[in-house]
């Protein structure tokens, strides 16, 4: 095995035993990037010089015995988290030249834990998309089949891990943007509870839904990353002062007697037969591991997508009002007065999907329509949240497919926004309810495309997700494959 193929915990052991150095690990990752990046396009920007300097410092710390949670571990950051002095584009022309004067809280935390930042990962523009095709900087390709999309919006963060162009990465999830690409790229992705990880320095898309989380090669690494990311932040008003457990303690335990809820509304139409069969096998593995399978009902499931496509664009239209060519980013060079400058800047600076969502959101919030759309959607959102509260009376965790189908072809859904939105149909409910969700690899299609299973739990129960995902990972013995690149 090459160093870039290893997990965080495997590398940490090698570091502690003196068998490798941070410099060797970073070199291995950048060699891998040189070999595959042209085909995959995981990154908008690489940070090699900074990475090698941080690795050098890490090696000095290691010699002194000062080894932190992520010392010497190469990490990729979705280009939506602010990095001081390093451009943060959000995959958009309108922010192509934006250089933040500060670090996001998660960036600070990772830096303090000794992480080596590899680069800024590609994404759908302003995280609006499910395929990473809407990036101003061009699409990212799925390492398992370069003709296919990697999922989105955190596509580059997912492929960087799947193609071994980093060891772990950071993404953000507003309606599935971590879990969906994790499933389609065959890796682990966790969306924490709303409020668990600080959003300070995360470029806002839909503020009541956005949450930052990790992509990793296995469940233990996910726990290691969560130990660094989680926690209260006085700079973020929705960040929660709740106790943070050591997530690693949930790894390697059994799930005997756990009740796993299967929501019948998630197994209706449109699920690919191979995805369905992989999920049925997953259920069998869990039963053999001592879990009890219970059928549950989340009766408002069919309304989640409609609620999401009011709430998210409404919040986005408000959040994206700040891109006006005045304070940062792109300004149209060929404009007349101030109003004309705003309109031309936004016309030329935003891509089609972003404009579409700004339009839906602006319409939904405009005079006379607020009650019919935003208020109605927020009421149904309450009903969706209640569905989950009822479900927790019957089960400990909920199991669903992460996505209805495996990765689709590049260009297949770009002209049909509604079809594209449907690829998030199983992940959106947890953002609306604010609960955590994890996607774990659970097999491959006959064409060799990865399939993911999603587990959901109650607020602040990421530990449960890590425990069941870890038990499943151990007992399922899913064949270890790497994409042929």
């Amino acid at each position: 095995m090459e160093l870039h193929q290893l997990t965080i915990h495997e590398l940490q052991e090698k570091i502690k035993e003196g068998k490798t150095s941070a410099e060797q690990i970073a070199e291995s990752v950048f060699q891998r990037i040189d070999a595959v990046e042209k085909r995959v396009h995981s990154y908008i920007r690489l940070m090699k010089d900074e990475a090698m300097a941080v690795a050098d410092k890490a090696d000095k710390d290691i010699k002194k015995g000062d080894i932190k949670a992520l010392t010497g571990i190469p990490i990729a950051l979705k280009d939506i988290v602010c990095t001081k002095g390093i451009s943060t584009t959000c995959g958009s022309h309108i922010l192509h030249n934006f250089v933040p004067p500060y670090d996001a809280t998660v960036v600070e935390k990772l830096r303090d834990a000794g992480a080596v930042f590899v680069g800024k990962a590609n994404m759908d523009e302003f995280a609006m998309g499910s395929s990473t095709e809407t990036s101003y900087f061009g699409p990212t390709r799925n390492p398992w089949d370069l003709e296919r999309i990697p999922g989105g919006s955190s596509g580059g963060s997912a492929t960087a891990v799947a193609a071994d162009e980093c060891i772990a990465s950071i993404g953000s999830d507003t309606g599935g943007s971590i879990r969906q690409p994790a499933a389609l790229c065959g890796i682990v992705g966790l969306k924490p509870t709303y409020g668990r990880v600080s959003r300070f320095g995360l470029v806002a898309f839909a503020s009541s839904l956005d949450q930052i989380g990790p992509f990793t090669k296995d469940v233990e690494d996910c726990a290691i990353m969560m130990n660094v990311l989680a926690g209260y932040d006085p700079r973020e008003s929705t960040s929660v002062r709740a106790e943070i457990p050591d997530y690693r303690q949930f790894v390697g335990h059994d799930i005997k007697g756990w009740k796993v809820g299967i929501p019948k509304e998630y197994f209706v139409e449109g699920i690919d037969p191979e995805v369905n069969s992989a999920i049925q096998k997953t259920i069998t593995v869990l039963e053999k591991s001592g879990a009890k399978i219970v059928e549950i009902s989340l009766p408002h499931t069919q309304y989640c997508l409609a609620v999401y496509y009011i709430i998210a664009p409404a919040e986005a239209s408000s959040n994206l009002a700040r891109y006006d060519g005045v304070k940062y980013g792109f300004r149209s060079p060929d404009s007349g007065d101030l109003l004309d400058m705003y309109k031309k800047t936004r016309m030329q600076g935003f891509g089609a999907e972003v404009k579409r969502r700004i339009m839906i959101g602006t319409y939904a919030l405009s005079a006379g329509y607020y009650d019919a759309y935003y208020k109605k959607a927020s009421q149904v959102r309450s009903l969706i949240k209640r569905d989950f509260e009822e479900a927790w009376k019957k089960c400990d965790v909920i199991l669903t497919p992460t996505t209805p189908t495996p990765a689709f072809k590049i260009g297949e859904k770009t002209d049909n926004p509604l079809q594209m939105y449907l690829s998030d149909v199983f992940t959106i409910s947890s953002n609306l309810a604010g609960i955590p969700g994890i996607s774990v690899p659970c097999g491959f299609t006959s064409d060799g495309l990865p399939i993911g299973v999603q587990f959901l739990a109650g607020h602040f129960e990421e530990g449960k997700l890590i425990q069941i995902a870890s038990a499943y990972e151990k007992n399922a013995k899913i064949e270890k494959r790497r994409p042929k690149l």
């Binding site: 500060y102 929660v240 309109k343 319409y363 959607a377 149904v380 949240k385």
Partner: protein, 95 residues
């Protein structure tokens, strides 16, 4: 059709977006498709249901009113497309 082409133009103005005629036609069709789908919500009786504004129970997040360092003018203006002195510079607002 829930949204006419003129309404799309008006919403674009509210959103401060200039759109071409071609974009307007495409957006009108796509937004109508999406709004038609969203109409699904009207199947549900939500009378008396409290609208949900927060995913978790959050209370006001107050902190002590201590003076801390801020980013400062120079750094705040560093990303501006046009700035002069201590100000963001914009095209003229009125004739």
């Amino acid at each position: 059709m829930k949204l006419s082409s003129q309404e799309v133009e008006y919403v674009a103005h509210l959103a401060r977006l200039e759109i071409t005629d071609k974009e307007k036609d495409k957006l009108t069709a796509q937004l109508n498709d999406i709004l038609l789908y969203i109409d699904k919500l009207n199947e549900l009786d939500t009378k008396g249901v409290e609208p949900m504004s927060h995913a978790i129970a959050v209370t006001n997040a107050f902190r002590e009113d201590n003076i801390v360092d801020s980013i400062g003018t120079e750094k705040s203006l560093a990303n501006a497309p046009d700035a002069r002195g201590e100000f963001f510079r914009v095209p003229k607002v009125i004739d």
